[in-house]
Symmetry: D2
Subunit: 337 residues, 4 copies
Amino acid sequence: MIIAVKNSSDKVQVDNLIKWIKSKGLSVDISVGENTTVIGLVGDTSKIDIDLVRSMDIVEHVTRVQEPYKCANRKFHPEDSIIDVSGHKFGGNNFQIIAGPCSVETEKQIVDIAIACKKAGANLLRGGAFKPRTSPYSFQGLRETGIDLLLKAKQETGMPIVSEIMGVRHIDLFKDVDLVQIGARNMQNFELLKEVGKMNKPILLKRGLANTIEEWLMSAEYIMSEGNHNIILCERGIRTFEPLTRNTLDLSAIPLLKELTHLPIIVDPSHASGISRLVAPLSYASTTVGADGLMIEVHNDPPHALCDGAQAIRPEQFAVIVKNIDVMLPLVNKVRI
Amino acid sequence: MIIAVKNSSDKVQVDNLIKWIKSKGLSVDISVGENTTVIGLVGDTSKIDIDLVRSMDIVEHVTRVQEPYKCANRKFHPEDSIIDVSGHKFGGNNFQIIAGPCSVETEKQIVDIAIACKKAGANLLRGGAFKPRTSPYSFQGLRETGIDLLLKAKQETGMPIVSEIMGVRHIDLFKDVDLVQIGARNMQNFELLKEVGKMNKPILLKRGLANTIEEWLMSAEYIMSEGNHNIILCERGIRTFEPLTRNTLDLSAIPLLKELTHLPIIVDPSHASGISRLVAPLSYASTTVGADGLMIEVHNDPPHALCDGAQAIRPEQFAVIVKNIDVMLPLVNKVRI
Amino acid sequence: MIIAVKNSSDKVQVDNLIKWIKSKGLSVDISVGENTTVIGLVGDTSKIDIDLVRSMDIVEHVTRVQEPYKCANRKFHPEDSIIDVSGHKFGGNNFQIIAGPCSVETEKQIVDIAIACKKAGANLLRGGAFKPRTSPYSFQGLRETGIDLLLKAKQETGMPIVSEIMGVRHIDLFKDVDLVQIGARNMQNFELLKEVGKMNKPILLKRGLANTIEEWLMSAEYIMSEGNHNIILCERGIRTFEPLTRNTLDLSAIPLLKELTHLPIIVDPSHASGISRLVAPLSYASTTVGADGLMIEVHNDPPHALCDGAQAIRPEQFAVIVKNIDVMLPLVNKVRI
Amino acid sequence: MIIAVKNSSDKVQVDNLIKWIKSKGLSVDISVGENTTVIGLVGDTSKIDIDLVRSMDIVEHVTRVQEPYKCANRKFHPEDSIIDVSGHKFGGNNFQIIAGPCSVETEKQIVDIAIACKKAGANLLRGGAFKPRTSPYSFQGLRETGIDLLLKAKQETGMPIVSEIMGVRHIDLFKDVDLVQIGARNMQNFELLKEVGKMNKPILLKRGLANTIEEWLMSAEYIMSEGNHNIILCERGIRTFEPLTRNTLDLSAIPLLKELTHLPIIVDPSHASGISRLVAPLSYASTTVGADGLMIEVHNDPPHALCDGAQAIRPEQFAVIVKNIDVMLPLVNKVRI
C-alpha cells in the first residue's frame, strides 16, 4: 500500500499515522517529495482498511499494491490447487463436465436425466433442490425432498452430485452432497460463507451478478479463512446494459483469475445468456479460453421444466457438445478422465 | 400478459398452451392475425412463469403488461401505506431522519453520538452491530454486544433504533430493535426475507447494488407474502461504471416507485457516494425529489471510525443539513414531527 | 503520478525510465523500499501516457495523483467560470432555465412554444434541427431549415437559442446560434470537439451515455485546448442495467464536478428518464443538489411530437415547475434574472 | 408490433391511432379483451417510432415483435454475406486474421511489423493513422502521413490495409485503404455513418463501448440504407463495472449476431481487455465461439509504442497464436486461405 500525504499536513498527524501503521505490524518506507510525502507500507497489508486511510484529512491519495486476499492469492501459493470432488479432480490439467436439470422435479425425471447425462459423457450431476427465485410465487424447489431424489440418482448412476445451499439452517441436509454450491445471489451472504467455511466439503462459489473479480476472491477468502480451502470458482455472467442476453458472460475473467489465484475456475454457459442456442458455442469458448470445467443445464423436456427451461438443452444436444469439447481439450493441454 | 404465437405452429400445441393457461385460473382473449396469433391473458398473471412461456417453441414473443408483484402494487392499494416505527410515521406526508454511526464501537461512542444526533434534530438512531464487510479481515461489528449498546443509547435518548440483520439465526437478537434493516447484499437472500416476513416488526429493505426496481419490489413481495406488510424501502445507490463515486445514487427511482408502490421510500446518501462532502447536497436532492425520509451516517470522530469513515459527517455538519431540510419540507408538502 | 518499480528489476531499465521521465520536463522523488522502489513524479504529468508506463515490464503499479486535465481543473482556476450566453450568465450564483421542443417542426410550432416557454419563465429556447436518431428511418430533423425557424422564434421572443451540432460541415450554419450543443453520442467525436474549440461561441457539452466524469472533463479539455474556454457541462443520465428509466440521472456528479472543475453544470431531466412524469421531481432535485441550470423539453402537443414525445411536458406543467424552482433557488443561494 | 390500449380509452382516440397506423401502410389485427384492446400491426413496422406510440395517453403497453433493422436482418437475407476485402473473403466459412500496431509511427516501424505479421501468418495489416485519444495531450496519430506509410507497407508486403476514419473531411484520404474502420467512439456518429455509406468500400464497424447489439445493427443499417452493404462487424468489449479489465469482451454477442444478421463478425481481443497476456486465450475463445476473424495488435517493441502498448504482443507471440488458431479452425468448420 502506498499512501501519499500532503506536505501541508500537520507533522504530528503524519507521525500518528505512521505510528498507527507500525502498530499493525508493518514497517514503512518514507520518501519526502516537493509537494507530497509518500509512505510505502511493507508487510502484510491485507488487514489495513483502505477506506479508513482514505478518509483521513492528511491523506491525498492511497493505493493498494498488494491484493487484499491472501489464502486465495497465487503469489503465496504458486501451484494450481487440485480440488478432489469424490474422486473427480478440478484444477491443474483436469477438466470436468457437470450436467443436469435446473430443478429436481420427480424421481423419474432426475434419474432419467442423470442416466442420459452420464451416457452423453458428463462427470458430475447437478440439480436444484433449493431454488433462489426472484418471485415468491415461482416454484421454490422441492427442498429436502429434492436432495433425497438427487441422492437416489447418485446411487443409480454413481455420479457425484452438486446442489445449491441457500441458508445456514440447511447445512445438515447437505452432508451427502459432494459439491455444495453457493449461488450468485448469496456470493456476499457472509454468514453463509463463514458457515460453509467450517464444512469439510468442496464448495462451488458462483460469481455474483454485479460483483468484481476482487470481491469474488474476497468471498473465497471468507470461506478459506474459516479453514475450508476446497473452493472451485464458477463464472456465470455479469449484469450489464445489454438486454438481449440475460447476463454477459465474462470470459476474460478466466485467464485473469488464472494469474491471480490458484483455485480452479469453471464456467456456467447456461445461466449466462439464458438462451439454449448459445450453450454450445459458449461451452467451446469457455474450454479454449482455459476454464477447468463446465456446468451445463440439461433437461429431457425443456418446455415443461419448472424453471429456467429457456436455457436448458436436451441430452442429445449435450452429447454433441461433450464430443466437440473432448476434441478441443488436447489443444489447451487438458484431460477429462 | 400478451403471448404472440407463430401461425406456423401446430394447432394442438397452441390448444395445449391455452388449456394450460386456463388451468392457472386465467381466461384468454385470442386474436388471429396474418402472421401471428395474439393471446391476451386476463386475470392475475403474477403466478405465471414468464421464462417458461418464453422457452416454448411455438411462442414468438411474450410480454408482461401487469407487474409481477401484487401486495406491493399501488394498483391494488392506491393509498400510501403509513408505517409506524415506535411512534414515528413513515409515508404519506411524513418525513423522518435516521442518523447515527456506521458501526457501534463502545457505549460512550454510541450514547454520545445518539445525544448529538437527537440534539441536531434526528428522529431515529441507526448503528451497525452486524457489519457486512467485503473482507473477512475487516472489522465485523460487535454483533450481540452492539445490539445491547444500541439499546442503552435508546434508553438514554428515547430514540427508536435501526440496525441491520445478517442471518436467520439472529432473529431473536432483534426483538427490541424498532426497525430491522435488510442490507443491500442480502436483498435477494430469500431465506432471510421469508424469515423477517414472519416478524411482527417494520423492515427497512435496502436496494441491492445491482438490482432493478422490479427485483427490489419482488423482494418486498417476499416479505409481504409471509404476512409482514410493514416495509420501508431504502435507495442507496447502484453499481455503474463511474469510479469517482462508490455507487451512483438513483434518485429517479423515488418518483417512479411512488407510482408503482404504496410503500414509503427513504434515501441513504452516505453509502451511495462514499464521500462525506456529497452528503449535504444529496440529502437536499433526496428531499425535493419526494423521498419520505433520510438515513445519514454521523460520527463524532470520523477519521477513527472503524468502518466507512470516509462517508460520515460530524454532528455539527449534520445539524446544518437538518435545518436546511426543514426549510425545504413545506415545498414538497411534507412534515417532520 | 506515483510509479512502483519491482526491486528485482534490471537497474539499467529503471535508470532508462527515470531518464525518460526527466526528458518530459519532470523531476522525480525516489524512495527505495524493501520490495519496491517508489518513484514520485513532480511537475505537470498531464502529458504522461499512464497506459504506456503501466505496460512496462519493470512497473508493478502506477497511479495518478494529479488529474489529467488542466484547463478545466479547479485547482488551477479556483473561481467559478461565468459563461455569458447572449447576456444570460451561467455559473457562480446564477441559474438559467432552457426550454423548448425536442425537434423543430414548423414555424408555427416553434414560435408558439417559444412564446409559451417565455411566458412560463424560461430564459433560453432549445430546439433540435439536427437530430441524432438510433434508426436511419426515424425523423432526422429539419436540418438547415430547422435553424432558420429557430432564428425566427428568437426574433419573435428575444430568447437566445440552443441547438445541437452533429458534424464539422455544419459549423457555418451555427454562426447565429447562441449556445452550440454537443450531444451525448458525440462527446468523444474528437474531430468535432477540436472544431468547436475554434469557434468563438459558448458550447454546451453533454455527458456521453457511458462516459466517466473524468472522460467528460477530458472532452471539455479538448475544446479548451483549442482556445475556447466557454463551456457549460450538461448531465443527462448514464446507461445502467435499470430498464424502467431510459437512463439513470447521476446527480452525485453535480457536487463532485463543483469540486473538480470551475465550469458551470446544468441538468437535462427530460432525456435522463424518458418519462414526462419524472421531469418535475428531477428538476427540483437538480436545483437543490447545486446545478447551475436546467434544460427541459416542452411541447404544446406531446402525443404528436415527431420525436421523444414521451419525455416532454406541456407549457402549463412547465410553468408550475418554474414557479417551484424559483422558490427553491434562495435555499441554494442562487438567483435567476 | 403489438399495442395494448386501455379499454377505458376514448373511442375516437383509438380510432385515430388505428387510422394513423394504416396511413403508414400497415394493416391491423384488433382483439377486444376484458380490460385491454390489443392491436397487432401487420407489415413493415421498422418505420414506426415506438417511443411516439408509447407516449400516447391511451397506450398501456407497446412491444416490438419485429426487429427495427431491415437490410442487416437475416430474416430478409438468410444466407451469410461474404464481404470481399481486396481478395480476402469475410463471412461464410472463411476466417481472416488482421494484425498490426496500434499506431503507425515511422516507415521502418510499420514496414518491419507488416513483414513480421505476414511471416507469422496474418492476412491483413492494421495500423492507426488517426487516433481517437481520450486526452488532447496524448499522441493523435500521424494522420495523412500515417496513411501514406501504411500504403508503403502494403506495397512492400501485398497485404490489404485496415485503418480508422475519424471524420467526414478525411473521406478522400481513405480512397486506397482496403477496409475502412469506424471506431467504437464513432459508432453513433451518424453524419460519418451516412458518409461512409456512400463509399464504394468495405467498412469495419466496431461496437460502441456502451451500445446494445440492436443499436449496433441500427448503425450498420445507417450505412446500408445509403447503399453500402459491405459491412463487417467487430466486437471489442463493452463498458461494465469490472475494473481489472479495460472492457468486458462480450463473446455471447457472436452466436447471437449470427442469428440476427447475415453480416460477418470479427473480434478484437486486444482492446477488450487492455492486457497483452489475455490476447492469446481470448483469441482462441473468439475462434471457437464462431467469429469470422480476429484483429490483433502486434508491436515489435511494446514498451515504446506510442499508444496502447499494454495490450500489444510481439510478432513471435502472435505467430504462436496463429498456429494454434489454424488447428482450431476445422473444429468450427472454417478455413483460412
